[in-house]
């Protein structure tokens, strides 16, 4: 576990040495702040529900998570430093997990920095705190799985841009899979209607914390982390 920490620490430093993290966080706060302000102004409701469900915030979440993860493993491959990590006494999963956790940390910082939204609502109105908590939980779980998909995408290529587009593509395909549910039937329909990546999130935003939804995002995260490890492992066999 110590190795995971070392990998994550180096990665976190790399985020903050380059402008990536600062720019991403700044733009994220600007966009989310603007969205929050507009929605509050027009709806006059003390709720974050519209912010969480707004198309802008969902698409922006996809964008931001893919930008945060696009260089994680692709850059290591391009620079040749992956060879360094794979010949050090580290296990492949430690490398992948460490890098993933670094991106998760940056994401957490971003989300925590939006903490003034609920604080503001509590000051000016009387929001349902439970719903806000559930919304944030769903948002974090969704973000965590999007980061995992991004990590997987960046394990597949040496090119950061391709990694970002690939990651976004996987997310959008998972989203689209909901449309399949309308034409599918039988057991397949059951599987397909469970797949769409944003559906489970909607439950959280409504204030419902369902174990099924938590398990969905956790297993999605683990699945793509597992796949990333397999991809890294397969480099050894080529």
């Amino acid at each position: 576990m110590k190795n995971v920490y070392y990998i994550a620490k180096r990665e976190l430093k790399a985020y903050f040495v380059s402008p990536i993290a600062y720019v991403t966080i700044a733009i994220y706060l600007a966009v989310m702040g603007g969205l929050f302000g507009f929605i509050l102004y027009y709806s006059r409701e003390a709720t974050l529900r519209y912010v969480f469900l707004h198309g802008v915030s969902i698409l922006f979440l996809v964008l931001v998570t893919q930008v945060l993860t696009m260089r994680l493993l692709s850059e290591e491959q391009r620079q040749g430093t992956l060879e360094l990590l794979l010949t050090a006494p580290l296990r492949d999963w430690e490398v992948v997990l460490g890098k993933y956790l670094a991106s998760l940390c940056v994401f957490l910082v971003m989300v925590i920095l939006t903490g003034h939204f609920p604080l503001l609502l509590i000051r000016i109105g009387n929001p349902d705190k439970g719903t806000i908590f559930a919304g944030y939980l769903g948002y974090l779980l969704l973000g965590a799985s999007l980061l995992s998909i991004g990590t997987f995408a960046s394990s597949l290529t040496q090119n950061q841009i391709i990694a970002a587009i690939l990651g976004a593509g996987i997310v959008l395909l998972l989203w689209l899979s909901g449309a399949l549910g309308d034409i599918a039937s039988g057991a397949f329909k059951g599987i397909v209607s469970y797949l769409p990546i944003f559906d489970h999130y909607i439950d959280f935003v409504r204030g419902v914390i369902d174990t099924k939804d938590i398990i969905y995002y956790l297993s999605l995260t683990l699945l793509f982390l597992f796949l990333s490890v397999r991809v890294i492992e397969s480099r050894r066999w080529k």
């Binding site: 070392y6 040749g80 360094l84 010949t87």
Partner: protein, 307 residues
Amino acid sequence: MIQVEGLTKYYGETLALDNVSFQVNKGEILGFLGPNGAGKTTTMRILTGYMPPSSGQAKVAGFDVFKDSLQVRQRVGYLPETVPLYSEMTVHDYLDFMASIHQVTNREKAIDRVLEACGIGDVRDTIIGKLSKGYRQRVGLAQALIHDPEVLVLDEPTIGLDPRQITSVRQLIKSLGGERTIILSTHILPEVSQVCQRVLIINRGRIVAEDTTERLTAKLQGGLRIRLQFVQAPEDAETQLRRLEGITAVDKIAPNTFEVTCAPDVDKRNELASLAINKGWGLLEMHSLSMSLEEIFLQLTTEEETS
């Protein structure tokens, strides 16, 4: 220290290593020589646990590189061909990271030690991306040494350096031998004769020769060759020379200049000198001709191609 047996590696359909076997003893510096694409990097990547062989086995310090990969990786320092550096980190932070993932206990001490050994103390706090090629190479070497490994695997460690840097890196590698076992790959031939005790020539995935540099030379040319120059040699000097026991061939290459080949493992220099002096030919020059590694290399690798 390193035992390699019947190592074979396929990349898809392509055969990269064909039944390679060799051994490296503790404290030895082995030169791995071969043209580009001969299988040097593949062998090194297998030894460092980067990838497994298709068949055969390799052991480092008694540990199988595939089954006990982590044990092997703890004991091996590796400098890949393209020096893997994080360009946004400072030299110190980079070495600190490398030390931590190698579970080095006293990291600062280890960093100071390799900074000193590789002569890069003056760039300790410089961003790696701003370093010159020579410094980068030495930072790479420092990284390979950080956990004080028993075995060093260096893939073309002097590539891209200027002549002075090449000399200093070679000195460094030589000084590391003795306590450490080193495998060094190169396609620069003088490097091998300067640094290594033993050479392994590899071509198209197969070992074509393996011996000490001196013995390899002697073996290939089939005996010591000596060039002699006299002030005044008689007409029948060639015949007289040939009559000496242990001389297999005499070539007259210029007036009064001869090349004499001795039988394998025989040194007739003393006898030749006495002969010339006793007969009053006036010995001007006598030196042994050694086949250069270039010649050996070309001979071995071209033979391979024509067969």
